[in-house]
Symmetry: D2
Subunit: 183 residues, 4 copies
Amino acid sequence: MTDTADYPEDHTPDGWLSEADIATARSRLPMLYVDAVPVRVDESGDVVAVGLLLRVSHDGAMTRALVSGRVLYHERVRDALLRHIEKDLGPVALPQVPASPQPFTVAEYFPTPGVTPYHDPRQHAVSMAYVVPVSGDCEPQQDALDLAWMTPEEACAEQVQVEMTGGHGYLLRQAMAHVGRLR
Amino acid sequence: MTDTADYPEDHTPDGWLSEADIATARSRLPMLYVDAVPVRVDESGDVVAVGLLLRVSHDGAMTRALVSGRVLYHERVRDALLRHIEKDLGPVALPQVPASPQPFTVAEYFPTPGVTPYHDPRQHAVSMAYVVPVSGDCEPQQDALDLAWMTPEEACAEQVQVEMTGGHGYLLRQAMAHVGRLR
Amino acid sequence: MTDTADYPEDHTPDGWLSEADIATARSRLPMLYVDAVPVRVDESGDVVAVGLLLRVSHDGAMTRALVSGRVLYHERVRDALLRHIEKDLGPVALPQVPASPQPFTVAEYFPTPGVTPYHDPRQHAVSMAYVVPVSGDCEPQQDALDLAWMTPEEACAEQVQVEMTGGHGYLLRQAMAHVGRLR
Amino acid sequence: MTDTADYPEDHTPDGWLSEADIATARSRLPMLYVDAVPVRVDESGDVVAVGLLLRVSHDGAMTRALVSGRVLYHERVRDALLRHIEKDLGPVALPQVPASPQPFTVAEYFPTPGVTPYHDPRQHAVSMAYVVPVSGDCEPQQDALDLAWMTPEEACAEQVQVEMTGGHGYLLRQAMAHVGRLR
């Protein structure tokens, strides 16, 4: 699970856990996450492109990722979704956050590989996943090198799938199945 | 079921049924429909208003209705949805047709009242129902007198519900339950 | 779309279309269908096997198919689902028809190939698709030679996918994505 | 949110948080929950009854509740769902845990009333909610005085709704909207 850093929010405000406390909680409680699959749609709502973030991992490998991040204390799921999309795609991405909180799936990232198709060595994270059309200008922020738009077919292809870690490639294919654009 | 007239499409193009043939088919086959609940959302996707069409029924009563209409031969569901929304709300309503074909529910309008919460004396219609955010200017078209925007709570209130016929009031409340804004 | 024969219902009861009338309507109106993906689940609801019908097509080829069939006039979707499952899997299959009418997707079978991933040369059929756990004894009925239970991974594998026609292989993979068992 | 006690699991196993640690985390992180609406269905999957737990609250009032409880560290959502249903309805309730992890809605219980329709004074809990048919014998366990089966209409009626606290009445009505049995 290539994660979106949310440190700025995490250590400043009163009432939130310190980094150390979060580290402890992470080893004992499932963490609540949201995953967003950013897409471009045509006027009939058909998905024409998927946006993937390009990052360099700790060991220097290039990886592609979806928008992903933690839901904070006292934050609504829809606000977490908006916050993470804006943090990763920039302030003028103009995401169309879904009107309904019903996710298309729930991705369960286990620290132990193989329990589910998702894996996060740091923690047990349970993520509600949404397909989110964005209509504005998107720019990679923070730690991302690039934001690449591909067709659903390209994004589901083997050469892209192998660049996605922790089950993000799997989740992307589930999203494409949901919108009727699985390869 | 206060229906959206789709006569122009129905009798002109080659390969579509004549009005008489449709009348026959209507008495023998379930007709495929789409229902759209037009909404205004804030930047977090939260529904802030619902759009209802005001019409005068055959017997002179005022009724409120959702956007509703038939799926034509060789038409995709998402294209039918776009067509009916533009027909009822105008060409610059800018609807955000859902990326996924998964409806929030399926409304089964029976000619016999009481089989389901939906009723259409003319036919057996099965309608896939979607919540559709619209971000542009909406104007009532054709046979509608007005398009009124109300809060979800107002739209679910008894005085509005009684003005909705054929189960549209019920479907509206299901839509609001789906987006977390049931009264 | 390897279809479930529903002739017995079609020509006998009063008020239903004759075969000739259905043939005409089929060329002019979208037909309403249901598709069911029969599965075996463990006590946690996890899918452990998928049931595929083996048939011989008109040209003598072996094909594998999901349960599929038309919704009749004045028939509820859930009753059509139960009827087609019992017709294909036998009277003691004990299907768990979903409590909610919300399908996991809508499969649009076009007579023209390539409009969608689904294709039916005979007609434009729009099918609401459901994953249906069955807990009883299943036996292939009527025109099916066999009912084979496979793991989700086997059912999504290339050698099985090529035996599924009209987009049923695609729909099966969408179903497996929905239940978290995509290959 | 009338909660299901899950103390036995919480303080014994190695690697889980102590009660004190959970208390701290509860004040700083959203807790992950599942809610289940137990129902009886007929052979077509139509909901004929809803099961509500009767409890006495801390201040001596009678309250009615859905099945609800925390997802533990390294526990799958579907296993948490099964565990809480068996804990509240007994070991032979025979629940049909959904094959798909997609919930019908996500209930966000905030410690501050009014942010959402759900409220839990103890914590910020985010709960994935499922309708779960049960086919076996159900008996109230632990702290519940009774398990009452009602029709969907009775369960949505005002006199029952007022006995449900923390938004469970609201969630129940959302569930009934989802299965097409809203009052």
